[in-house]
């Protein structure tokens, strides 16, 4: 049942925290026991070992650098590509949503590129850019760009025509309608796009670094694989998960700040 009538001694929030702790502790205990006392210990390192290794990784380097550096370089790659994707994606999306001509010119090309997964570009990007950072920027850019464009396009297409009519009626010219009506009313859509894009970008950097890199979180886990070091892989996954979580929540917090006027809110 979707009711929230389980326990009157605790508030809903307290209950969630209590259960979260219980279930996490259970997970760690089961993991620890399985890894120490069953035959799974062959390939599953105990939880305690992974956690100590995780904390140690901030002080002791993995490969040449500490974990903070690996996370930092991956984030830097995402940030650069994300910035480009945001600017180009919003421009293309709003343009296609607002102008029929612009849409007619660019939409077929965009629709041709869109279904190709960003990681499928890796072989070409290596041919074009070698193993440099440019290639990684390119892959991550493609990973973010499509989501931002599609969402912005949706937003600009769904502007209430009555709002545009109202603005024209009040004396706004086409340029003003575009900047004061079409653009701001697409903002919630753009944010939805940015949120998906940042997650996709993080996923793309992991993929790109796994295939061609000498540092970064993706490299950490793939290096763990090639040296048979399960602990290192798991430490990498923990770091990737934490950063992914922060990124996803950062954008929704930002959206709540910037779109206070937008009462209706999704999940």
């Amino acid at each position: 049942m979707i009711d929230s009538t389980t326990n009157s001694r605790f508030t809903n929030k307290q209950l969630i925290i209590i259960y979260t702790i219980i279930s996490l502790v259970c997970l760690l205990i089961v993991w620890e026991l399985v890894a120490r006392f069953t035959s799974a210990s062959m390939f599953l390192p105990p939880a305690s070992e992974v956690l100590t290794a995780f904390f140690r990784s901030f002080a002791e380097p993995i490969g040449q650098h500490t974990m903070l550096f690996h996370v930092g370089i991956s984030l830097y790659r995402v940030a650069v590509a994300f910035l480009f994707a945001t600017v180009i994606g919003i421009a293309l999306g709003v343009g296609m949503g607002y102008s029929r001509l612009f849409e007619a010119i660019f939409k077929p090309l965009f629709e041709f590129i869109r279904p190709i997964p960003p990681l499928a570009w890796i072989p070409l990007s290596i041919l074009w850019f070698g193993l440099s950072d440019t290639g990684k920027f390119f892959i991550i850019f493609l990973g973010c760009f499509c989501f931002i464009t599609v969402n912005t396009y949706d937003g600009a297409k769904n502007v209430d025509p009555e709002l545009m009519g109202a603005a024209r009626m009040l004396g706004a010219n086409e340029r003003q309608v575009f900047f004061k009506i079409v653009l701001p009313s697409s903002v919630p859509y753009i944010f939805a796009g940015l949120q998906i894009a940042v997650t996709a970008g993080w996923s793309a950097v992991v993929g790109a670094e796994m295939i061609q890199s000498n540092e970064g979180v993706g490299w950490v886990i793939i290096r763990g694989m090639s040296t048979g070091n399960t602990v290192q892989i798991m430490v990498g996954i923990v770091a990737i998960g934490i950063v992914g979580f922060i990124l996803a929540n950062l954008t929704s917090a930002l959206e709540r700040r910037l779109c206070a006027w937008n009462a209706q809110k999704g999940i």
């Binding site: 009519g165 109202a166 009040l170 701001p184 006027w261 009462a263």
Partner: protein, 262 residues
């Protein structure tokens, strides 16, 4: 009192509707759907004209054409002697759904018109202050539309249209979404506002009480395609009383004349 032609002061009309008709392509793309036919009337300065008709007749279509948001397929509309060819700030519009810009505060909504027309900053501020005061919303400058009640939103809509100081105001069932109590209150408010700041108003409604309460003149429209059935000029003293015998008599008269087939 009922038959109009002789009655109205023969000044120069501010708006003329000349034989206006409007058809849309029907959904299958083959035929035509005629919505308006042969509309002929004038609107005079500072007159409160109500376009009254039942149901989904072409009232909104007609209003959009008069305002320049839509083009007639036949005939022309003239504002101050010039042909209407598009929206213009000399004509203000108040919408049923209010259509406030949700990402702007109340004052930014009201100031939108003056600002996009690049009036001096001081003038913009002055108008925002003046017209928010006129509609009784001083103190709500920084609120967003989503934080206001339906009646308050509609007040902002009226203030926004007024802030451009248009010659003619078009109101498309502005109180249609409000509950009955708020509606009565807003009708009285509108009357007060209109008497305080005289404008030519063309008001669309399907509510006979609202029409009789507000109008100098009522044009009764009928359906399919919409055309003018009758004109009434209303000379009752303002503010009017909903249960005044004259009010009730006119109400009966006009309702009897309505075409209720859809």
């Amino acid at each position: 009192m009922e038959r109009s032609e002789g009655n109205i002061k023969k000044k120069n009309p501010v708006l003329e509707c000349r034989n206006v008709g409007r058809s849309f392509d029907s959904y299958d793309g083959k035929g035509k759907n005629e919505v308006l036919r042969g509309m002929n009337f004038e609107v005079y300065e500072n007159e409160f004209l109500v376009l009254f008709g039942a149901g989904q007749c072409g009232k909104t279509t007609l209003l959009n054409i008069l305002a320049g948001l839509d083009m007639p397929t036949e005939g022309e509309v003239y504002a101050n002697g010039e042909k209407v060819s598009g929206p213009a700030p000399e004509r203000g519009f108040v919408y049923q759904k209010t259509s406030l810009f949700p990402w702007m505060t109340v004052e930014d909504n009201v100031g939108f018109g003056p600002k996009v027309r690049h009036l001096p900053e001081k003038e913009c501020k002055e108008r925002i202050r003046k017209y928010l005061d006129l509609v009784g919303l001083t103190g709500f400058e920084k609120s967003y539309p989503s934080q206001l009640s339906g009646g308050m939103r509609q007040r902002v809509g009226i203030a926004r249209a007024y802030a451009n100081e248009p010659d003619i105001m078009f109101m498309d069932e502005p109180f249609g979404h409000l509950d009955a109590q708020t509606r009565y209150m807003m009708e009285e408010e509108l009357q007060r506002i209109w008497q305080q700041e005289k404008r030519t108003v063309i008001f669309v409604t399907n509510n006979i009480e609202e029409a009789l309460f507000l109008a100098d003149r009522i044009i009764l429209l009928t359906n399919c395609p919409t055309h003018i059935k009758q004109e009434y000029s209303i000379t009752m003293q303002r503010p009017r009383d909903y249960v005044d015998p004259e009010f009730l008599r006119l109400r009966q008269l006009i309702t009897d004349n309505m075409d209720l087939t859809l």
